[in-house]
């Protein structure tokens, strides 16, 4: 269980990530495993990137999304736990102080989910067609 005063940060030696159109794309630089998190998951990754405390992140989510605090806390703990288990983030002694302000219109909440793609390197390793084929008169054999 995470404490409100626990600060989290991206494990930069091991992970690289960015948020595009609200979706976090994360790469484990050691293993080549890819991850993605949509919706609120993108917000969570951005907040971890800003070295926010667990309590501050929770405040931010509750302020901007239509969700009960207890649900948001459970979900945040789950995702943070998964990211910690994958070695993508880590605890840090201090971070940035933020005060959450309630949004005028709260966004629809959806449980954040960490999508994992563990087989990327396996798929890359499947024997590709031989390179260097530009000298071949490559013609279709099955056309009409």
């Amino acid at each position: 269980m995470l404490n409100p005063s626990d600060y989290l940060e991206v494990n930069l030696e091991r992970a690289a990530g960015d948020v595009i159109d609200g979706e976090a794309i994360i790469i484990n630089l050691e293993t080549g495993v890819y991850y993605s998190m949509q919706g609120i998951g993108g917000d969570i990754w951005a907040m971890i990137g800003a070295r926010r405390s667990f309590g501050s992140m929770l405040d931010e989510i509750v302020a901007h999304y239509d969700v009960d605090r207890s649900v948001a806390q459970t979900d945040l703990e789950t995702v943070a736990g998964q990211l910690l288990d994958e070695g993508l983030i880590r605890f840090t002694g201090s971070g940035s102080a933020y005060g959450a302000r309630n949004a005028e219109t709260k966004k629809q909440y959806a449980t954040p989910q960490l999508q994992v793609y563990r087989d990327m390197q396996d798929l890359l390793a499947l024997d590709p067609p031989a390179p260097g084929m530009n000298q071949i008169a490559w013609q279709r054999s099955g056309s009409k």
Binding site: A16, G17, D18, I20, D21, E23, I25, I26, I27, L29, G32, Y34, S36, Q115, V116, Y117, R118, D119, M120, D122, L123, L124, L126, D127, P128, P129, A130, P131, G132, M133, N134, I136, A137, W138, Q139, R140, S141, G142, S143, K144
Partner: protein
């Protein structure tokens, strides 16, 4: 109808899946279908935008972004993929084989509401679909329809992922009947292996088997046609086995020259370690050549054991050699070859493949249009 054909690699890269995709496009372009090919750059310097055989191709650095583990280039490729999808506005996305680039399709799913058709061109391992933590599993889950290129591949998919049973079918990767008629068997035994020279094809086993054959049949010869990363190793192995004078390495053979090459052979040997739908076996059957093959992937669906060839255990040069020697008599080879041609003409003809895909394209696109209008 607009089809975005997603192909891990495409011309000028050559492999069974790449040739299949190009042939399918060539055959369906005249049926009112507009294609755009989206593919990966891989390791050659090729234009980002290209045209081959009248079909536009967009190449993106998918594989480099993944292999380089570079978020910035990954996101650039995502943005470009989204833009391509929005601009082309396909009625259907046909993913020909699942490769690492499929991640870029999944992560840009919001850019197009077109249904996804996936052709599985390779063996499906249960571990690849074990849970939701793999790209394979997520592509399979997101597909409106899945096609196995052989019954074997289809059954592997259904066993590993029962949820796919109701939205999957088999369409063989057929081969067009060559204009060239099959020729009589050569008078001296000529063994042929044809394909990419990669470990998966097992041509090293074929060489070791031929060493046994050559010791029993002095005038036998062996041709290995194709090229690939394992070529140097195979040439060295032929030398090590003392077969330099008996084995010819031709390099790449143009597809249109394959029927002539097959006509010059007595038997085709395919000791594969992995296969999806083995086009070479179909080509051999169409040219009335018997095939000695392992029971891998779709091979036993093309090579009916004892009918138009012989099925042998994997990694077993002695068994391969025994099978070649058994077929070496011209009479049996001719009989098996004729049976193989009949089997290929009735089951594995390209026209059936094209008609099946055309019908599937229409059904999936119309279903999606209907769903959107509700």
């Amino acid at each position: 109808m607009r089809i975005l054909l997603w192909s891990e690699l495409y011309w000028p890269y050559i492999g069974g899946a790449e040739i299949f995709a190009a042939n399918l496009i060539a055959s369906l372009r005249g049926e009112g279908i507009e294609f755009l090919v989206v593919t990966s750059h891989h390791d050659r310097e090729l234009p980002d935008a290209d045209v081959h055989d009248g079909v536009p191709i967009r190449r993106l650095p998918f594989r480099a972004a993944i292999a380089g583990r570079d978020v910035a280039s990954f996101i650039r490729a995502l943005k470009e993929t989204s833009a391509i999808k929005q601009e082309f506005a396909p009625d259907l996305i046909h993913m020909n084989a699942i490769g690492p680039s499929a991640l870029f399709h999944l992560r840009t799913a919001g850019a197009s509401s077109a249904p996804l058709l996936v052709t599985l061109q390779q063996e499906v391992l249960g571990t690849q679909l074990d849970g939701a933590g793999t790209l394979m599993a997520q592509v399979v889950d997101s597909a409106a329809w899945l096609v196995g290129c052989s019954q074997n591949v289809l059954e592997q998919l259904r066993a590993a992922h029962p949820a796919a049973i109701a939205r999957s079918s088999r369409i063989y990767n057929g081969v067009e009947v060559p204009r060239l008629d099959p020729a009589p068997m050569p008078t001296h035994l000529h063994v042929l292996s044809l394909g990419r020279l990669v470990p998966a094809k097992g041509f090293d086993v074929a060489l070791r088997a031929f060493a046994i054959v050559a010791s029993r049949i002095p005038d036998a010869r062996f041709t290995i046609a194709g090229d690939g990363a394992a070529r140097d190793e195979l040439v060295a192995l032929a030398k090590e086995l003392g077969l330099e004078e008996r084995v010819a390495f031709t390099g790449w053979i143009e597809p249109d020259d394959v029927p002539r090459l097959l006509n010059d052979a007595s038997v085709v040997v395919m000791p594969s370690r992995r296969e999806g739908m083995p086009i070479v076996a179909v080509q051999a059957a169409l040219m009335a050549r018997p095939v000695v093959a392992t029971a891998v992937g779709g091979l036993p669906e093309v090579v009916l054991d004892g009918e138009n060839g012989l099925i042998v255990p994997g990694e077993d040069p002695e068994s391969v050699a025994a099978a070649i020697i058994r077929i070496a008599g011209r009479e049996l080879a001719t009989t098996m070859g004729e049976r193989g041609r009949r089997h290929a003409l009735t089951t594995l003809a390209w026209s059936r493949t094209v008609a099946s895909y055309h019908a599937l394209y229409k059904a999936l696109a119309e279903k999606a249009t209907h769903a959107q209008s509700l």
